[in-house]
């Protein structure tokens, strides 16, 4: 690893994202790593290591790593952190940067398209509403207009992709 692979500005970039500022307070105690259920099953996934690499400026390595998408968002790390780093939020900041640079998994793009098309993640058709009314439940509607405006997306032509799980 060459020194010029390092980007000393990366930590500031992460800290400037919403939820990212906590990274400055980390003193590397590894309480988060010890508590992380994902790390317990996948030793390669290690919250403290992701923080260290970020502080060291290993920008590309962090942003391109498939590991950053394995967080289950359980917030266990934050509950045990003595420094209020809020790692779940720090990782969200990192993932947001990664996504802007094209590293997001394909399902992420589909999510925004589905919201623009349906105004909700799961499609509601007559089939769903018939089932609902059979149970005495009120109908639900799709009103995607607000979501198109917020996301600046027009629904794509033809069918949207498969629904995410």
């Amino acid at each position: 690893m060459r020194l010029n692979d390092c980007d000393p500005g990366f930590k500031h970039e992460v800290a400037a994202e919403p939820g990212g500022a906590g990274i400055r307070a980390c003193f590397a105690c590894a309480a988060c790593s010890a508590r992380c259920p994902v790390g317990a099953n996948r030793p390669a996934y290690d919250p403290r290591r992701i923080i260290r690499l970020t502080l060291l400026g290993r920008r590309e390595e962090v942003l391109a790593s498939p590991l950053i998408w394995l967080c289950s968002s359980c917030y266990s790390c934050g509950e045990v952190c003595p420094q209020q780093v809020r790692f779940t939020e720090v990782l969200t900041a990192i993932k947001n940067i990664a996504a802007r640079e094209g590293h997001a998994p394909p399902s992420a793009k589909i999510t925004a398209e589905l919201l623009a098309k349906q105004g909700r993640l799961l499609e509601v058709t007559d089939f769903e509403n018939d089932k609902r009314s059979g149970l005495g439940l009120p109908p639900v509607q799709q009103r995607p207009e607000d979501f198109q405006a917020i996301l600046g997306l027009k629904p794509s032509e033809g069918e949207a992709g498969e629904e995410p799980r």
Partner: protein
């Protein structure tokens, strides 16, 4: 008592037994749930890749709730958590609220702090109250033992959810289960995460997170595992067979919603509570209430 119901995307499409039992239980307990067809997604699915837009979407729902002047009550723990986080963030970051309001203005909406966001279960506990709930019980479920699964977003981050549970030793679901006379099993893996958050990224990983808890509960032979979130349901009910197969074993862990357990205690029938739609059926429980 009146609250605005936040159904979210998943419950009204995939978890009709949860919705049905929640509505029925509220009816019996004198809680009026108001529907607003224009409420939709909470923004959670976008957060990992685009939290700015996720926040605007959450703020849209908060602005709508504020117009109703009612507490916003969700059935999905991810919705409740996402909306509570957004309210907390926007109330403490005026510049974020300003940015969001610039995006909401063309929609004729305005966010302002002060919406109470909560999970239906917590609302029942805090607003209806255990005493009042106990007083309405007509059936005794004391021969049954339930294992609650609190899940993550129902409890954490504690600084935002703000209680009443201590995430290290949660009791709220247990108290409600006990209100029916039933016993509560606070099993060793009580606090394990369901893994649903990584199902899309890594099925094996998600399966091993959920599988450890399923294996434990399978051995403990509880009447059923009790949930308060549709995402946890994806793992424990929807994926139960696939996970068992991967672990080269078999599981028979019945899965129910807390509102279904409460409903039985309140005298509602299994049909009224949508038990027909449960796939991992609690056979012992249903046999006792065959109408």
């Amino acid at each position: 008592m009146k609250a605005l119901l936040f159904l979210g995307c998943t419950v009204p499409v995939r978890n009709l037994n949860y919705e049905l039992s929640a509505r029925k239980v509220c009816e019996v307990l004198g809680v009026e749930l108001v529907d607003d067809q224009s409420l939709a997604c909470c923004g959670y699915p976008l957060k990992g890749t685009d939290q700015a837009h996720a926040l605007t979407i959450a703020a849209r729902a908060l602005a709508q709730a504020r117009a109703h002047g009612l507490p916003l009550v969700a059935l999905c723990s991810a919705c409740a958590g996402t909306l509570a986080e957004a309210e907390h963030h926007l109330a403490h970051h005026p510049e974020a609220a300003k940015r969001v309001n610039a995006e909401l203005a063309p929609l004729g909406l305005e966010y302002a702090p002060g919406v109470r966001v909560t999970h239906l279960v917590r609302y029942l506990l805090e607003d209806v109250g255990l005493e009042a709930i106990r007083a309405k019980m007509t059936r005794d479920l004391s021969e049954f033992t339930f294992a609650p699964h609190y899940g993550c977003h129902y409890l954490k981050p504690a600084e935002i959810i703000g209680g009443p549970d201590d995430p290290e030793a949660p009791t709220s679901m247990g108290e409600l289960i006990e209100a029916t006379g039933a016993k509560v099993d606070n099993y060793p893996r009580l606090k394990d995460c369901c893994g649903g958050g990584v199902l899309g990224a890594d099925e094996d990983l998600a399966g091993s997170l959920a599988g450890a808890k399923l294996a434990e509960l399978n051995a403990r032979e509880v009447t059923a595992m009790v949930l308060v979130c549709p995402f946890c349901n994806v793992m424990y009910e929807g994926q139960q067979k696939a996970i068992a197969k991967r672990m080269e074993t078999k599981f028979k862990v019945p899965v129910v919603y807390l509102t279904q357990v409460l409903g039985l205690g309140l005298g509602l029938t299994p049909d009224e509570l949508g038990f027909k739609l449960n796939r991992a059926k609690p056979k012992a429980l249903l046999a006792a209430f065959k109408s």
